[in-house]
C-alpha cells in the first residue's frame, strides 16, 4: 500500500484521509490550520519546508488562568496599558517555515503588531495591543495553528532571567586591546636603536600600557578571582600559574617602561588574555533550547480549575490546599495527590515512570501528582499540597542542592598542580644561579621564567577539545551539559539503566496470543472491532495484527474500563478484561486483553514491552568494560524476558522506588563506583542527580526531560558505547596536547633561564603555541567525530 503523508504535519494518513484542494491531511486539525493559512495568504509556509506543521491540540479551557492579572504580569516584559510584550516558549519551532509563520502573526490578527522569533531558544516575542486582545488570545491563536506555547510552573517562579553577556564583553575588550597593542609594538620589533624610535618610543609604550589596563583589570579578573579561591581552599588549579603569569607580565612591563629598561611585554600580555578568553568562549557552547536543570516545576501547570460551590475558578497551583475540589480536563496534569471523586480517569504516568500504558481509576481511587488525564473531565479532591505530594517530595533530598562539579578534579587541574610546583622550582633555581653569576640579571630571569611558563597552551587544550566534542555530539543528538561531564563520562565504570521507557521503547509493544486459534472470519471481526475503539491497548493491538478486509459492523459498543463488544452478521465478539469476556481472572503481572466470540472464551493477548533496537548488542559491547545494572520501578513481570536478552552478568533489580534508586547509587559510589545513570522519567530524577553522570533519554528532546547532565535522543541509544569511548579518546587527545605544549615551554624556558628572553620571542612563542594547540585539538577531535559518524 502506498503511504500518504499529511500535507501539513507529515504524519501517516493511514486511518482516514481528508482531502482539500488536492492535498491530503491526516486529521481535521491539520486541515483547519491549512485553511487558516490559505485564507490569510500564508501558504508560503508550505513552500519553505515540506510538512512543517504540528497537529493542533484540544485546548478548551486550558488557558483560562491567563486572564488573571497577576499571571499576565509574570509573562509580560512590557505593559503600558495599551501594548503588552510577552515572550513565549514554543517547543515546536524547528525550521525556517516556523520562523516565517510566527513572524507573520500580524497577518493572522491585526491586534498583533510584531513578533520576533529566537530560533536558538525556541521562543517568540509578541507585541500586541490589549484594547481588544489579550495574552490568552495570543496563546489560543498560536495553539490553533499548531504552535502551542509551553507554559509551566517554572515560568511563574523565576521571572526574568538576566542574560549574562560578560564573556562577550571581556572577549571584546581583550581583542580590541590585543589588536591595538600589536600595532603599537611593531616599530620597536623592527627598529631597535634609531633616532626616530628614540624620540617616539615613550608615546608608543605608554599607549600600550593604557590599552593593557582594561585587559588586566577587567578582562582578566576572573583568573585572579579563581586563583585566589583555589589558593584559599589549598588547591593549585590552572588559574594560579595563569594569574601569576598575567601579574608578572604586567608588573615587569610597567617597571621596564617606567625606568626605560625596554618595551615590556604588553603584546604577549594582551594576546595571552585574548586567547584564554577565546578558549573559554568556545567551551561555553550551550544548548539554549535545552534545559538541564528542570525539576517538577517546569512540568507542572501554573494553574488548575478549582470548584467552589459549583463555580469553576482558575487557581494557582501553589494555592491548592488539602480538601480542595479540582477539575481536571482531558490532557491536563494532576498537580497534587488526591482522590478521584467522579469521572472516568485514565491516567498516563509516562512522565513519572516512563510507562507508556495509561491506567484506569475508579472513583475513590488515589491519584498521584504528575499523571496526565487522558479521557474526558474528572473531578478530584486534593489530599496534599503541591510540595508535599509523593513525587515532589523527592526534590527535598539534599542531592538536588549539591554541585556535582565540586569535588571533581579535572585533568587540567591535576596537571597544573605539578606544573606550578615545577615552574616555581625552576624559577627559584635559575634565580639563585644568576644571583651568584650576575646579580643584575637575577630578577630579569625570575620574571622571564614565570612569563614564558604561563600555561596558556595547557589551559587551552581542554576547552578546545571538549568544546569541539560537545558540538560533534550535539550534531549526533547527544546533548551534553558541559565539558566536565565529558571528563566524568570517560571515567565511568558502572552503568545503571532504568527499565521502563529507557531500555523499552514507548512506541511499540509486542503481544503474544495464547488460547484457541481464531478462525479467519473471527480475526477479521477482531481487527474490525479494534478499528473502532480508541483505547490505547486496542490501537496497539490493531497495529500488531495483520491486515484484513474492512467489514461493516452491525453493532458496536464500548464499555469504558471493561472492553468493547461488537457483532457482524451472526457473530458476536467481546474484547477486554477477563471479567468482561467471562474468563477466570488469572493473576498475571503483564497487561492482557481477553477475547471471546459468541460467548465462548477464546484466549488472551499478553503484551510485552518491546525493547529498543540494538539493546542486547549494546549490552554485550558494554559488558566487557563496565558493570551493568537494571534498576526498575516495575514488578518482576519482565524478568525472564530480560534474562534471555541481556548478558548473564547484568544485575536485575525490580520494585525500586525513586528513593531506593538514589540510595542504591549512593551506596555503590561509597564503594568506589563511578556511576553512569540512564533514565527518562521524573522518578529517575534523584538517581540522575546522585550519579556521577546522569543521562536522560528522550523520545523528543524538546519536550521534557528531568534534571540531568546530558540528554540523549532515544534513536541514538544503541550508540551509547561509541559516545563513551569517544570521551575516552578525547582525554587522550588532551594528554597529547599537554606533551606538545610542554615542548614549547622547554624551548621558552631555555631562553628565559639563559637570560635572553626578548619581548619579540615571547610575542612569537605565545601565539604560536596557543594556535598550534588549537589546530591540533580541532583536527584530532574532528577525526574522532568522523569515526563516530560511521
Amino acid at each position: 500500500m502506498e503511504q500518504t503523508t499529511c500535507f501539513h504535519c507529515g504524519d501517516n494518513c493511514s486511518n482516514s484521509i481528508i482531502t482539500l484542494n488536492e492535498k491530503s491531511f491526516c486529521c481535521n486539525g491539520c486541515k483547519t490550520v491549512y485553511e487558516i493559512f490559505s485564507e490569510n495568504d500564508l501558504t508560503c509556509y508550505y513552500d519553505l519546508q515540506s510538512s512543517p506543521g504540528a497537529i493542533p491540540k484540544e485546548i478548551q479551557g486550558k488557558y483560562d488562568f491567563l486572564s488573571q492579572e497577576n499571571i499576565i504580569d509574570k509573562f509580560t516584559e512590557f505593559n503600558d496599558g495599551q501594548i503588552q510584550i510577552a515572550t513565549l516558549y514554543i517547543p515546536h519551532i524547528h525550521c525556517s517555515s516556523c520562523i516565517w509563520i510566527l513572524e507573520n502573526l500580524n497577518k493572522l490578527n491585526p491586534n498583533i503588531s510584531a513578533s520576533q522569533v529566537n530560533f536558538g531558544k525556541k521562543t517568540v516575542r509578541v507585541n500586541y495591543g490589549i484594547k481588544d486582545y489579550s495574552l490568552k488570545d495570543v496563546v489560543l491563536l498560536l495553539s490553533s495553528i499548531g504552535y502551542e506555547p509551553y507554559i509551566s510552573l517554572d515560568d511563574f517562579k523565576t521571572g526574568k532571567a538576566e542574560i549574562n553577556r560578560s564573556i562577550i564583553y571581556k572577549l571584546g575588550v581583550a581583542g580590541f586591546a590585543f589588536g591595538n597593542v600589536m600595532f603599537l609594538s611593531f616599530p620597536e620589533y623592527f627598529q631597535v636603536d634609531g633616532f626616530w624610535i628614540e624620540q617616539y618610543k615613550n608615546v608608543f609604550r605608554w599607549l600600550m600600557f593604557a590599552f593593557s589596563l582594561p585587559v588586566v583589570f577587567y578582562a582578566g579578573q576572573d583568573y585572579f578571582i579563581s586563583a585566589y579561591k583555589g589558593l584559599r581552599s589549598k588547591l593549585l588549579n590552572i588559574d594560579v600559574p595563569i594569574a601569576l603569569g598575567i601579574a608578572v607580565l604586567f608588573i615587569r612591563s610597567t617597571i621596564e617602561i617606567l625606568f626605560d629598561f625596554g618595551t615590556g611585554f604588553f603584546d604577549s600580555l594582551t594576546g595571552l588574555v585574548f586567547f584564554l578568553l577565546l578558549g573559554k568562549f568556545f567551551q561555553q557552547k550551550t544548548y539554549s533550547f535545552l534545559s538541564f536543570e528542570r525539576d517538577y516545576k517546569s512540568y507542572f501547570p501554573i494553574a488548575v480549575t478549582k470548584i467552589i460551590n459549583g463555580e469553576e475558578l482558575p487557581t494557582q497551583v501553589y494555592d491548592i490546599k488539602k480538601g480542595d475540589r479540582l477539575l481536571i480536563r482531558n490532557e491536563e496534569l494532576i498537580p497534587v495527590d488526591g482522590v478521584l471523586i467522579n469521572g472516568k480517569a485514565r491516567i498516563d504516568y509516562s512522565f513519572v515512570t516512563g510507562e507508556s500504558e495509561a491506567v484506569s481509576k475508579k472513583s475513590g481511587d488515589k491519584l498521584f501528582a504528575g499523571g496526565k488525564q487522558t479521557s474526558g473531565i474528572i473531578e478530584m479532591e486534593a489530599i496534599k499540597s503541591v510540595e508535599q505530594s509523593y513525587l515532589t517530595q523527592l526534590w527535598s533530598n539534599d542531592v538536588f542542592n549539591k554541585n556535582k562539579e565540586e569535588g571533581f578534579t579535572t585533568l587540567t587541574n591535576t596537571i597544573s598542580k605539578r606544573f606550578t610546583i615545577a615552574v616555581l622550582s625552576i624559577a627559584f633555581i635559575a634565580t639563585t644561579f644568576w644571583l651568584f653569576k650576575d646579580a643584575s640579571k637575577a630578577m630579569n630571569v625570575f620574571t622571564a621564567v614565570l612569563i614564558i611558563a604561563c600555561p596558556c597552551a595547557i589551559a587551552l587544550s581542554a576547552p578546545f577539545t571538549f568544546g569541539n566534542l560537545l558540538r560533534i555530539f550535539g550534531k549526533l543528538k547527544f546533548y551534553v551539559k558541559n565539558a566536565s561531564v565529558l571528563e566524568q563520562l570517560a571515567a565511568v565504570n558502572t552503568i545503571i539503566f532504568d527499565k521502563t521507557g529507557t531500555i523499552t521503547s514507548n512506541q511499540k509493544s509486542s503481544a503474544n496470543y495464547e488460547g484457541v486459534r481464531l478462525t479467519a472470519s473471527e480475526e477479521t471481526l477482531l481487527k474490525n472491532t479494534l478499528r473502532g475503539s480508541n483505547h490505547p491497548l486496542s490501537r496497539t493491538l490493531y497495529d500488531i495484527l495483520d491486515e484484513h478486509n474492512i467489514i461493516t459492523l452491525n453493532h458496536f459498543e464500548e464499555h469504558i474500563g471493561k472492553g468493547v463488544e461488537a457483532s457482524h452478521n451472526n457473530d458476536r465478539i467481546k474484547i477486554g478484561s477477563a471479567s468482561f469476556v467471562g474468563a477466570t481472572e488469572t493473576s498475571a503481572l503483564n497487561t492482557t486483553v481477553h477475547v471471546s466470540t459468541n460467548n465462548v472464551y477464546k484466549g488472551k493477548f499478553t503484551f510485552y514491552n518491546s525493547y529498543r533496537k540494538g539493546l542486547s548488542k549494546l549490552f554485550n559491547k558494554l559488558k566487557k568494560q563496565y558493570d551493568l545494572v537494571i534498576l526498575s520501578g516495575d514488578n518482576k513481570g519482565e524478568l525472564e524476558n530480560l534474562k534471555k536478552l541481556l548478558p548473564t552478568k547484568t544485575k536485575l533489580i525490580f520494585n525500586q522506588k525513586p528513593d531506593d534508586k538514589l540510595e542504591y547509587i549512593k551506596y555503590h559510589q561509597t564503594e568506589g563506583a563511578k556511576v553512569l545513570m540512564i533514565g527518562d522519567g521524573l522518578n529517575d530524577a534523584g538517581a540522575l542527580a546522585q550519579s556521577n553522570v546522569g543521562i536522560a533519554l528522550s523520545e523528543n528532546v524538546n519536550v521534557f526531560s528531568p534534571a540531568c547532565d546530558a540528554i540523549l535522543d532515544a534513536s541514538k541509544f544503541n550508540q551509547l558505547d561509541k559516545f563513551i569511548s569517544a570521551s575516552k579518546s578525547a582525554i587522550k587527545i588532551i594528554k597529547w596536547s599537554f606533551v606538545l605544549s610542554f615542548m614549547y615551554n622547554i624551548i621558552g624556558l631555555y631562553f628565559a633561564v639563559t637570560g635572553q628572553l626578548l619581548p619579540v620571542v615571547a610575542a612569537v612563542l605565545m601565539p604560536l603555541s596557543s594556535i598550534s594547540i588549537v589546530v591540533f585539538t580541532t583536527i584530532a577531535t574532528n577525526f574522532l567525530g568522523r569515526k563516530l559518524n560511521k
Binding site: N40, S96, L108, Q116, N118, G120, D137, I168, G172, F176
Partner: protein
Amino acid sequence: MSVIYMLLSISVIVAIVFFVAFIYAVKKGQFDDSYTPSVRMLFEDEIIKEKSNKKKLSTNQKNKF
C-alpha cells in the same frame, strides 16, 4: 608637533569608535541570537511576493481571530 601624534590619535579614535559600536551591539542583544537573523533575511523577497498576490486575492477578507 609631529604628524605622528596626529596619526596615532586618529588611529586610536577610529579603534575606539568601532569598540564602542561593538559594545553597543552586544548591549542591544545583537549577539544573543546568532541563527534566526540569518534565516530571516532570506524571507524578504517572499513577503513582497505575498503582498502583491494579496491585493488581488483578498480585498475583503476578514480575519478569523
